[in-house]
Amino acid sequence: MKYAVETISLTKVFSDWWGRRKVNAVDNLNLKIKTNEVFGLLGPNGSGKTTTIKMILGLLNPTKGHSIVLGGKSTDPKINTRIGFLPEESYLYQYLNARETLNFYAKLFKLPAKTRKDRIESLLDMVGLKAVANRPVGMFSKGMARRIGLAQALINDPDLLILDEPTTGLDPIGTRQIKDLIIQLAKRGKTIILCSHLLADVEDVCDRISILYGCKIQAMGKVGELLKHTDKKQIITSNLISEEALAKIRGIIEAEGQACEISSPMDKLESFFIRTVADAQKHLKFTSGAVSTTEIGSFLTADAGKEVLEKLVSETAAEDKPVETSKAESIKPVETDQALLSDLTQTSEPIKSKAVVKTETVEPTNVPDAVEEDILDELVGKKRPVETEITKKADVSGDGANE
């Protein structure tokens, strides 16, 4: 089976009560989502993303065309046994607690009692709701409800996972966890459709994307290819490089008549936030909300017999490893957290050591800034003016030598 999801001339026209055609929600959509692909469905509000997903899942009847999901109809129980779906909001039964919620959905899959129990505990652990598993989900915050919504979508270890705005309402750790989960599931051969307008989320994890606007596909292709700046090059090295060496490099480039800009790359705010929370967790700070253990349910990992996959956020913070959430072809990690932390905590006195220069060509992108903007907006609840990379670096380190 080449395609996990295929839509053929999928069209949805919204009619009024009298049956008069009012609005085209989706127009002649032809999508081909390959098996084992992380596919991003992007578009502004009202572009038809959710309508497309609802038609694919059989919640809406297409006005014209049809869709093939995992080789059949999505309404066929044999097919939807292999589908996991997280709607745009976690529509849950408010009176059930987290464990009962998962148990209810697991029963719909006819999972054996032991498997059911194991998966529920594993998922509760994964989404960080084990401590509040007996609290009715009606008392959950939006983010917590989102987490349990995600858990219900994963209860059947689906081959096709459809996530509609999965990170809405989630804290950065939860957002990060979902992205890591998507990557892990993709490694296991799962197909994932990610419907979002948070571009950073999509960019970090998707193999291919499609941008919908005006009920039609405006662009579709691999993320790397779509974002590639073919007219620019980037050199990355460690910060131990001497000023003389930098001056030489600049001189060589300028000798060829090209413009050259030298600056220190920024860490992602997401990584910084995760480290801070992980430190707090180490010191057992109490919280009444979700506690992200950030472990992926063992049944969802590639080898169920092994220990849980690498700990995503907490381990990242604990070991100060660079964040590697993105696809190799889109973003490369540029600096270790250890190096940044040293910069932040030590004096500005230059460290005399042999510079290990690692030079490689990567595709620069503007999107990480967008990610940071979004997260910040969520954190402070307001919009900030966009800052350049250099400005931000100067604010953090106070070192203007590279400017």
């Binding site: 919640l59 129980p77 044999k78 849950l92 719909l108």
Partner: protein, 455 residues
């Protein structure tokens, strides 16, 4: 089945959170005991029991029916409105399984509640004589006339066709037809004459008698007696409203000396317009189930005594226990619950909650007065014969006829609801009407869009 069960259990939890369900349950738990010891009826023990069981079962039936309507509609419309259905229906569950689960949950909850409250009513009813310190006589009366399940046999209908035809000819020849019946059709005149002749046959003028013959009387083994239930109607009401009557009860087909069963000759005085019962030993009934009852209108009465062909005369005899009859009567409420649950789900499959509830209430209340409605439409039949016959009548017939299966109609007169009648009701209400409605509900719900379009 496990998916249906999972949905059913979830549905029950959903309903139990409804405040109206809690209110109804509390109301019944409070009201039933209060009614049990607060209602006096006509002051006798039998009257108290009849009032309590009648009102208790009716109240239970009403509240459980209303709860069933609300619950069945809420459980589906709420899932659609609050969009939980997105996460449920995208799991490997067919839409018919979802509906079946919802139906199962609603009916199961209704059944458990019915079991609890009917048990409470039964417990209060059987323990009431003990708490009220009733006399032996009252206890004996309730044993015969309340704590029992009696079958009733109506007298054989006499053929009055020839009498009617003769009377019609006579009136036609004398030219009195138009004067008496004005513009009525022949069919209508014949019908009126038939009723008139039947009443004549069951009337006794001063000094004359009326004879009724009954067949197929089969008292339960060990029955002590049978009951002749009658109600006097008179042309001129006596000053004291009392009628003297001579009664002869037994097998009249053989000479008296050859009769091997009991023959009972009684004289008694009873009031007009109220049903009375005469108890005679069960051996009055011949082995083949035959019994004759004769009433002699004593000249002292000085009025014509009539017995309505509808409820003027019948024989009652014990055919089953009170408990068995009570169980069957309670199961009639269960039949109503199932029918209304299906109706509610059908309404919820295409209507919003308030409109669906309104529709179901209309069905419920028209079903509770179905006889009146059928009679009313029969009257309209004259003007719109074709429309009535092919459109309106089938529709009305398809409506539930709850008034025919009112619990009080069986429990108050201690009338048996036989298994035969019960299964007939079940066949019509559940296996025909409910299944048709369920099929329509599945068709509608199976083809509708469950999501709203957001653009």
């Amino acid at each position: 089945m496990s998916r249906i069960w999972a949905v059913a259990v979830n549905t029950i939890r959903q309903i139990l959170r409804l405040k109206i369900a809690t209110a109804f349950v509390v109301m019944l738990f409070v009201l039933l005991p209060v009614m049990g010891f607060g209602m006096t009826g006509d002051g006798t023990l039998k009257g108290r029991l009849q009032s309590f069981v009648s009102y208790g079962l009716s109240l239970t039936s009403l509240l459980l029916c209303l709860l069933t309507i609300i619950a069945s509609i809420y459980t589906l419309t709420s899932d659609i409105k609050n969009k939980q259905i997105y996460t449920v229906i995208t799991k490997p569950i067919k839409r018919y399984q979802l509906i079946a689960g919802k139906l199962f949950g609603v009916v199961l909850l209704g059944s458990v509640m019915l079991l609890i409250f009917s048990s409470l009513i039964y417990a209060i009813a059987v323990s009431m004589p003990r708490f009220l310190n009733s006399s032996e006589q009252e206890i004996a009366q309730t044993k015969d006339e309340f704590y029992t399940a009696r079958a009733s046999v109506s007298p054989m209908q006499q053929d009055v066709t020839k009498d009617v035809e003769l009377e019609y000819d006579k009136l036609a020849k004398s030219g009195m037809l138009e004067e008496v019946f004005k513009k009525d059709s022949k069919q209508q005149i014949m019908e009126q004459l038939r009723k008139q002749k039947k009443l004549e046959k069951s009337s006794a003028s001063v000094g004359s008698q009326v004879l009724w013959e009954f067949h197929n009387i089969k008292p339960a083994a060990g029955s002590e007696g049978i009951f002749i239930k009658f109600k006097y109607d008179v042309s001129v009401t006596p000053a004291d409203n009392q009628i003297f009557g001579g009664w002869l009860i037994g097998d009249n087909r053989k000479p008296v000396k050859e009769i091997d069963t009991g023959v009972y000759d009684l004289s008694r005085k009873d009031s007009v317009g109220i049903a009375h019962e005469i108890k005679v030993p069960a051996n009055a009934v011949a082995k083949d189930g035959y019994l004759a009852v004769a009433f002699f209108n004593v000249p002292l009465n000085n009025t014509v005594v009539m017995f309505s062909p509808i409820d003027g005369m019948e024989i009652l005899y014990k055919a089953d226990s009170f408990f068995a009859n009570f169980v069957r009567v309670a199961l009639l409420i269960e039949v109503k619950i199932i029918f209304l649950a299906v109706t509610g789900l059908l309404a919820a499959s295409f209507l919003s909650m308030p409109v669906a509830i309104l529709l179901c209430l209309v069905v419920f209340f028209t079903g509770s007065i179905s006889m009146f409605i059928i009679d009313s439409f029969d009257y309209l039949n004259e003007g719109v014969a074709g429309f009535y016959k092919y459109v309106l009548k089938p529709l009305i017939q398809f409506m539930p006829q709850f008034d025919k299966i009112e619990p009080a109609a069986f429990i108050v007169p201690a009338k048996i609801l036989s298994w035969g009648v019960f299964f007939k009701v079940v066949s019509i209400m559940i296996f025909i009407k409910s299944l048709v409605l369920l099929f329509i509900a599945l068709l509608v719900f199976g083809s509708r869009e469950l999501a709203r379009i957001i653009v």
